[in-house]
């Protein structure tokens, strides 16, 4: 990088670390709040502590890994439809 160029917010790895650690903290606090706030729940699973957190995490990991596998089937060259 050009040394004269301004250093931006996330050019400093420390700031990235701060961001990631704040995310960890927020997640921990949100699960912690489950013990304090009563969530109205219709289904039994919903009432589990941290249900939404676990569901969100698992859903996203599944989504990404499944999509990664899907890529093996559906991915083509950018010119796929061009060559007749």
């Amino acid at each position: 990088m050009n040394s004269k160029e301004k250093r931006y917010l996330f050019d400093n790895p420390r700031n990235v670390k701060v961001l990631i650690y704040s995310l960890y903290v927020v997640c921990a606090v949100l699960v912690g709040l489950d013990f304090v706030i009563h969530r109205h729940s219709e289904y039994a699973v919903e009432a589990w502590y941290g249900f939404y957190g676990v569901y969100g995490f698992v859903a996203c990991v599944f989504l990404v890994l499944a999509a990664k596998e899907m890529r093996k089937i559906v991915k083509r060259e950018e010119t796929y439809y061009d060559d007749k």
Binding site: H40, G53, C60
Partner: protein, 564 residues
Amino acid sequence: MTSSLAPFLIFYVGAGLAAITRGRLRQVLLLAVPLVGGLNLFYLGRGDLVTFGLFDYDLILLRVDKLSFLFSIVFHIAAFLGILFALHVKDTTQHVSGILYAGSSIGALFAGDLITLFIFWEMTAITSVFLILARKSATSQATGMRYLIIQVMSGVILLAGVLVRYQQTGSVEFTFIGLDGPGGALILLAFGIKAAFPLLHSWLVDAYPEATPTGTIFLSAFTTKLAVYALARGFPGTEILIYIGATMTAFPIFYAVIENDLRKVLSYSLINQVGFMVTGIGIGTTLALNGAVSHAFAHIIYKALLFMSMGAVMFRTGKINGTDLGGLYKSMPLTSIFCIIGAASISAFPLFSGFVAKSMVLAAAVEEGHPIVWMVLLFASAGVFHHSGIKIPFFAFFAHDSGIRCKEAPFNMLAAMFVAAFLCIAIGIYPAPLYALLPAAVNFDPYTAGHVLAQAQLLFFSALAFTYLKLSGLYPPEMVGINVDAEWSYRRLLPSAVRAFIATFGPIDHAVRHLAMRGTQRVIVWIFRHHGPEGVLAATMPSGAMVLGVVSVLAVFLVLYFVS
């Protein structure tokens, strides 16, 4: 004082004036169109305001009720945003077609009968295609034609359905249609094409990323949401829509994760969002319908905002693929912030517009006892945050620094994004005015501590999953390439089937025709032999021969006369 001026007329006249003006005057005029339209809406009366008879049909050009009124407000907002965002563009075609398209969509909203709906339905197709063709690349020409064919086909199916239904019921009024007869099924299919039902959706992900940076803002707002409106009026409580909608929320997000073209990612997420609305319409309770239409309202604005942020990136950098972008927060900080606000809204973060709208559909799914559907919707909610909420801003504005240094978006683009972002937050913080507009009275409070907590957990842990996958290197890297989808059936399968058909039956066809030609040739030769110049039957007879004939006939008469 009430007005009964059809709102689409303002847009059509505005388009005409925009076509003949230039420069600053046109810019003022363009911006005035949705504002005057909005003023007219304010004074617009209720009920059937403009009706006329055509042949045997009673047509209702302007029917205003709560549902059409709500959609018309957000269509006016979308038109304003789209026009403001495109104000710097010097292309007359784009301005005129943008306004005509908005006007046609608004005309369709107020159609009280299905014939009028059909006319505006086709108008939206014809007027919008220019927003794709205006890219003026070979790809966009081909894409535009595919788009037009599919859109017009939707209209033709609609008309067929309307006529069949007219035979059954004797009415063309646009009220509840349902799936009782073949007419209803055809109409649902027509709506389904425009709403991008699964397997009927590829026109959308094909066309929207190919439109001009400014044209996509218009496209993203009107066509699919017009279909949502039509479904909400014609097919509320139609059970199959629940499952169609749930499928729509789930399958596009897989594509969105691996897609490189960021506007295509947004197109897939558009289908995901419309899926929530379709599910709500399928459930059909008051809460679900309120959820569906308020989601449509909020969605149009934040989707426009997201497409605007990507349009601004494209306008400044000329690039839109995740592989080419990154680190743009350094050059375009305001656009980055607006994009993040749009991302937070579509992800339904508390205090943003998606939160106060979408949760009604989920609540309705729980209430009506659809646990599986609820699980799918929840999965899709996490997924939409993942690809629209994180992926879009992350790969465009952060991620690895692409080294691109450009100017911030032009003022009119920033202004349009600001207005949209403001509305996203305003609706999120203070949903009461939106709730007041909904078709039925709202008895729903999104801001209960439990609900906020649940949603926050879902979203933050999704972000955690992204961070984990990214740090562990499991996250699939952005790759150059395309992912085949349902469009493969008509862009690859059908052409190759046709080629195979020709290769197989071509020779047979050739042989059969050759045989037929030879047969014909023989017949001609045979006829020529007898009737040709040299032929016996073609010889001319002398006039004496005729006299002989006449005399013979007379002689026969004479003989017969004597005999009898």
